[in-house]
């Protein structure tokens, strides 16, 4: 055996022109306003921003959402109107109509270009109207899609209390009395006895996930005796977790690099760098890493992962041996590619808007390892891809599945190429052991559709002369 044979093939990174389709990062208000129940999101931008939000969120727009546009007019752009007075007028209106616990200002491209000092205006206005104002610059000049959440959470991280308030202990005591009063009744809460937990430093998890997933992940760590002290974000702004120096934090999603940086540098927390809990392999590695940091021997993880794989075998066999191409638009790509490789797929290309090699280090390492173990070539990671070039490559390599944005999905389908709309991965529940089936549900849907339509001979529905 020569050295070259054993030498593992390293990950290959490329960077293209950045001419790709993705959602504007202001779209994060769509899921964050639902997650943080007492918030109000004010997007300070133009008609273009408003038009995007209204169309991207479809029916949600009609459910009286707790977000609105502060639509800039010509007078705002040319500074004939005073920013401060205008924002005060709108925020007072919001306070009167909705009375939120926090107003989040989303800065956009326009406020960047005309250099509106949102960070400067916010504290002044905050003290004047008595509602916290958090500023997040989630604009298309700097960020893509899910990175919007990153900018909001990084701003929120600064607002987390740094000491457990005195009231907390009191509540504890009252609960003690409550416990006495409830004596003899069945214990019902998830946040049960301290005795069930191993003694470890406080752990706070960051990343916005649907409440059921929060419960699932909390329970998953509880099985290892690990207590989750809090989540950033929490269900309500008023319940943001305490962050003291020396607390441990772990990320739930691959696009949270700014939040991670803020937690480390500004809040002096210790980041647990782990692969992300997407897919049973990722969840296993995530838990294992947290356990190792706390010096805990993980229990029953192997069996649990094996059991999950067994339960989804019917879906896995639909994609085993097939190829997949990620065009790249939401930063979940590395984790999903790693999971699909483990499922037996060959990944042709991983397009990704932005690659933080430090924050994603553990995930990248797991991807590399997975490729070696599965005996498939290590895919090229293309940062800031060029959609036009990618379409040429897709046409050449004819992958079995392209994970892409809606702008390309229908045209690719018409050319006989299976697609899965990438945005669904951001809205579906994909974290933890429990949701493995849900991820595969999405990935296998085109394959299952094909099984029902096969033999119809309708797989290519554009004339030959049509361009790619």
């Amino acid at each position: 055996m020569t050295l070259a044979d054993t030498q593992p093939q390293a990950l290959n990174f490329e960077c293209e022109t950045g001419n790709y389709h993705t959602f504007c990062p202001i779209s994060c208000v769509a899921w964050l306003y639902q997650k943080i129940e007492d918030s109000f999101f004010l997007v300070i931008g133009t008609k273009t921003c408003g038009y995007f939000l209204q169309n991207a969120m479809g029916v949600m727009i009609f459910a009286e959402p707790r977000y609105a546009m502060a639509e800039l007019e010509e007078g705002d752009i040319s500074a004939q109107l005073n920013d401060y007075d205008e924002l005060k007028r709108l925020c007072l209106q919001i306070k009167r109509d909705r009375n939120p616990s926090v107003i989040v200002w989303i800065g956009t491209c326009t406020t960047e270009i005309i250099k509106t000092d949102l960070e400067g205006l916010a504290p002044k206005l905050e003290s004047e109207i008595g509602i916290p104002i958090v500023v997040a610059r989630a604009n298309g000049l700097d960020y893509a899609f899910t990175q919007g959440e990153d900018t909001v959470l990084a701003a929120m991280a600064q607002r987390c209390p740094s000491k457990a308030p005195e009231g907390e202990k009191e509540k504890e005591e009252r609960n003690g009395i409550q416990k006495l009063l409830n004596f003899g009744r069945k214990k019902e809460d998830v946040a049960a006895d301290e005795s069930e937990y191993v003694n470890h430093p406080p752990l706070v998890l960051f990343g916005s996930l649907p409440d059921p997933v929060v419960t699932q992940m909390t329970l998953e760590l509880k099985k290892q005796g690990i207590k989750v002290s809090g989540w950033l974000p929490s269900k309500r702004y008023t319940e943001l977790p305490v962050l003291e120096e020396g607390y441990y934090v772990a990320g739930m999603n691959p696009f949270l690099s700014r939040t991670a940086t803020t937690l480390m540098r500004r809040r002096k927390c210790k980041l647990i760098g782990a692969p992300f809990p997407i897919g049973p392999d990722g969840t296993h590695a995530w838990i294992e890493k947290i356990c190792s940091v706390f010096g805990i021997e993980p229990k029953g993880l192997e069996e649990r992962e094996a059991q999950i794989w067994e339960s989804v075998e019917d879906y896995v066999k639909l994609i085993r041996g097939k190829s997949v191409f990620f065009m790249g638009d939401n930063l979940l790509e590395i984790s999903l590619a790693r999971f699909l490789t483990r499922c037996g797929m060959t990944v042709q290309e991983i397009g990704i808007p932005y690659m933080d090699k430090r924050y994603q280090a553990a995930e990248l390492a797991l991807l590399e390892k997975t490729c070696q173990e599965m005996g498939v070539p290590i895919p090229t990671i293309v940062e800031k891809p060029d959609n036009y070039n990618q379409l040429q490559r897709i046409n050449e390599n004819r992958p079995d599945l392209v994970i892409t944005g809606m702008a390309h999905a229908n045209p690719l389908e018409a050319r006989g190429i299976n697609t899965k709309w990438s945005v669904e991965f951001t809205f579906a529940q994909i974290h933890g052991f429990t949701n493995t089936r849900d991820v595969l549900e999405l990935v296998t849907r085109p394959m299952r559709r094909n099984n029902s339509l096969k033999d119809l001979g309708w797989d290519k529905l554009v004339r030959d002369e049509a361009k790619v």
Binding site: A70, L81, E86, T110, K186, Y388
Partner: protein, 508 residues
Amino acid sequence: MKLAYWMYAGPAHIGTLRIASSFKNVHAIMHAPLGDDYFNVMRSMLERERDFTPVTTSVVDRNVLARGSQEKVVDNITRKDAEEHPDLIVLTPTCTSSILQEDLQNFVERAQLEAKGDVMLADVNHYRFNELQAADRTLHQVVKFYLEKARRKGTLPDGKTQKPSVNIIGTSTLGFHSQHDCTELKRLMADLGIEVNEIIPEGASVHNLKNLPRAWFNLVPYRELGLMTAHYLQEEFGTPFVDITPMGVVETARCLRKIQQVLNEQGADVNYESYINEQTLYVSQAAWFSRSIDCQNLTGKKAVVFGDNTHAAAMTKILAREMGIHVVWAGTYCKYDEEWFRDQVSEYCDEVIISDDNGAIGDAIARVEPSAIFGTQMERHVGKRLDIPCGVIASPIHIQNFPIGYKPFLGYEGTNQITDLVYNSFTLGMEDHLLEIFGGHDTKEGITKGISADSDLNWSKDGLAELNKIPGFVRGKVKRNTEKFARERNIEQITAEVLYAAKEAVGA
């Protein structure tokens, strides 16, 4: 600043892109930040377009902010020219690029030196015009560009076509039922013995624009799109135009009579009266409907109408004049063209409302409590909240307003479609009302299948809380599967953990 939750007309660049991508082999390059290419998603989703939307972005990022676009825009134009050989590339400014105040015209001129196709800068001020105005202006700009080019080259064809002919101006991508309307208009013209010279912009090639002056007249079916072009063609080539929207029986007849007049003035000697009579009485069902008992029941019922100028005005006239319905108020969000709207509908409704504030429109609906609403998707949702049925008659619209089946709003088949729409809206409202009087449908709750009341299973508080987070329509199934799972394993207390364990085991 304006607090806005929703808007009726989109930003200007959407109008420009709608025109550019309606033409064949025209490519638009937006000067915009990442994420502003949402137009591609809308076209691909709403119109279920099979081809890639010919719109790309020359991305404005931090570097552009610091140093200007420099070569970037020019490179992107010449690159696209080489890749796809479009006939025309339209450089499209956005709200972001218009405040950067870069000399985009200069980029266009530089790119034109290298590009084989034509290059043009869409001349639209983002802060003054909306989607509809921008579309009208861009169409005019493109037409003017090619007619002037043909004139310079001496390739403008002489004279008119031999037989009477028409240009249909204003059918475009993402227009409300625009494709179906276009088919209906072509059929109508064929019935009248009028040749269709050109249809713009949908499906047109820019090379054919020089033929526009050959038509005897121009037909502009929509108030919002095409008038500028029609005026231009009249001034330059003396081509008359007909701008009566053939929507509804009376207006369709009026449109046809106007066409007759325009053609006869040019010596055609046509008479459409017998055609109008035949269609009105026997082909379209709308005239007969207005005599029928069904329609009699609608007499004096209250309705409100809101939409763009074309559809709201036509609908108001149909309801009031052709069906005897009481239109309490009619409104438009086309504030820039308010006078025209007032002029059209004033005699057919009690009040005219001009507003682009959806909150104000919602309040105005709640105030008058109509039996039916005819409006946009937004009014449909107001109707849902107030329990008032709504027929959607104008943009903004959703995917369900891009039907695959043939559903024109214009011409004689259009009158049939509108009749169905109106009648279905009202009867549904009536049914609801009756149900309410008689206490609704069967009000008894269904008995839960399977699990008897004396179940040996307990749901813990957290278990129940998790169960309640599951959407209502599958909750019953999840509950049954979880209980079955628990029973098989002799678990007495169902906690959140048990619930999720069941999900993993049986996909509950």
